[in-house]
Amino acid sequence: MMRLAHATACVCLLGTATMAVSQAQAQASASEWASYRDAYRAVVVFEKYGGAKNLLQNHLQLVPREKGALGEGLQLVLSGKTVQTSLALDALGRGVLPLVKAAYDENAVLAPNHRIGPFSLRSRVTIAPQADNIYDTAELRAACEQALGFARYVDAGARARQCVGVRLVFPRKGVESSVKLRRLDGEQALPMTQGAAFGGDADADFPVVNYRFGADKAQVVTYSAPLAIVPLFE
């Protein structure tokens, strides 16, 4: 009886392994992919967060491992048994993940619409842009504090951190991307550098302006809409 049980177990195991490998090859060879459930899990925490967040926005970011993989026309395709839709991505690879119960229940898949190599998905909280491109520094500080509140909610390690400023990230080309700090005594251009929008991004050649909060009351004025306004903690 024991040997029969062992043999049965071995047959079951071999059957399982064969089925797993053949199905995995069929699915995985098509393209790189990510689990909708894992993406949902990353994003929904912000949606359920009960703290102040009216000055913030949350995106799902596709983070390729290779530099330069994010290009125009890149989309994230959500595919399930009954759910099929595409998420438009901005130049930073960010899009809004629809929270759909059917997609979760069907264990739907997220995949880029063309090959970009290995990638990961991350939840990114940034400061919502203003339509007039004018930001009171007090508002920016308040938004940064909201983002820090959320960071502390999800990460006990963030409790010792403080808001120190914001990073304004602009498209690589096609728009004027100067930023000025407007005070009562005049305007001052803020230095533009090249850098990554978020820590861990492969692409580090975006025009960025890092503004550190000061004591003065002022306005940050951008002459085009930034791609993202990233809160900075230290």
């Binding site: 009886m1 024991m2 040997r3 049980a5 062992h6 049965t8 177990a9 071995c10 079951c12 195991l13 399982t16 392994a17 797993a20 490998v21 199905q23 995995a24 069929a26 699915q27 995985a28 790189e32 992919w33 689990s35 459930r37 949902y40 899990r41 929904v44 925490v45 359920k48 491992r65 929270l99 119960k101 979760y104 229940d105 264990n107 739907a108 898949v109 290995p118 990638f119 990961s120 909610y153 999800v154 990460d155 006990a156 390690g157």
Partner: protein
């Protein structure tokens, strides 16, 4: 076939004996489930010199209301905070027969089901002649705290093990969750120390005078305290959105009075497992 279900394993980052998967927010009315089959090579019982290899069913289910089943344990997440997890925990402590945990798989030793008054001692098996310890449901609680999203301190306490149902075991551990090794490859690492009360220790590592007569082991009355320390790693390879290969390596070293038990032949032991799991 009963043997097939004597050992089950969680596919989460947790490798703890009382496994608590991480909080998994999902739409109301949904669930996230892994089920599969693999193999495990483990010592026949805690402290055994000999090993056995057996089939390993894999099961982990989480529901949107917080209830989870993970290997041999089940519980409920009651916390709404992403940095704290706590709730009630239930588990099944496997039985231990003369041939080890969960009964025999290979069928190479004498019957453990029918009591016998005439015994031939197996000099290599200290459990020969020892009373069978029956499988017992255990009840308790867990509390986990996230130092950072990838670092989790874990703790649990369970009561009800042993023939008199008075064994209590607890565990403190630290886990590094979801270390990304490459696309679709993650590794979780765990270190933990477990504590037990005197009754647990006596059940699983002690020898009463009657048991000494029957088994030939010396009489041994251990005290409660630290039972073992362990380190482990779990490697999850997501082969596709639905299939995962989950493998685990765990080293356990018995400590305190458990280590000095006459039933213990090898205080340090390895458990290795690998299994395919399907995500439903």
């Amino acid at each position: 076939m009963k043997k097939l279900f004597a050992l089950v394993l969680a596919v989460s980052g947790s490798a703890a004996s009382a496994q608590t998967p991480t909080t998994n927010p999902m739409p109301d009315g949904s669930r996230d489930m892994y089920a599969g089959l693999g193999v495990v090579s483990a010592p026949r019982y805690e402290g055994a010199d000999r090993r056995k290899t057996s089939a390993l069913p894999v099961l982990q289910v989480q529901w949107s209301n917080g209830i989870f089943v993970s290997g041999m344990s089940a519980g409920m997440h009651l916390s709404n905070s992403p940095t704290v997890e706590y709730g009630p925990l239930l588990a099944i402590h496997p039985r231990r027969t003369e041939s080890g945990f969960g009964g025999r798989v290979g069928g190479v030793e004498g019957s453990t089901l029918a009591p016998s008054t005439v015994r031939t001692y197996d000099s290599r098996n200290p459990l020969a002649g020892m009373e069978e310890i029956k499988a017992r449901p255990e009840a308790g609680a867990f509390f986990n705290y996230y130092l950072a999203p990838e670092w989790r301190l874990t703790s649990s306490v369970l009561a009800g093990a042993g023939n008199d149902r008075n064994g209590v075991r607890g565990e403190f551990g630290i886990q590094r969750l979801a270390l990304q090794l490459g696309a679709h490859h993650t590794v979780s690492v765990t270190a933990a120390v477990s504590f037990v009360n005197r009754a647990y220790q006596q059940n699983y590592f002690g020898v009463t005078p009657a048991q000494a007569m029957a088994s030939g082991n010396r009489v041994y009355h251990p005290d409660g305290g630290v039972k073992d320390v362990r380190i482990g790693a779990r490697w999850n390879w997501a082969l596709s959105p639905s299939w995962m290969l989950t493998s685990s390596l765990q080293a356990t070293r018995l400590a305190g009075d458990a280590k000095d038990s006459p039933l213990v032949q090898r205080p340090t032991n390895l458990t290795v497992s690998t299994a395919f799991a399907y995500r439903f």
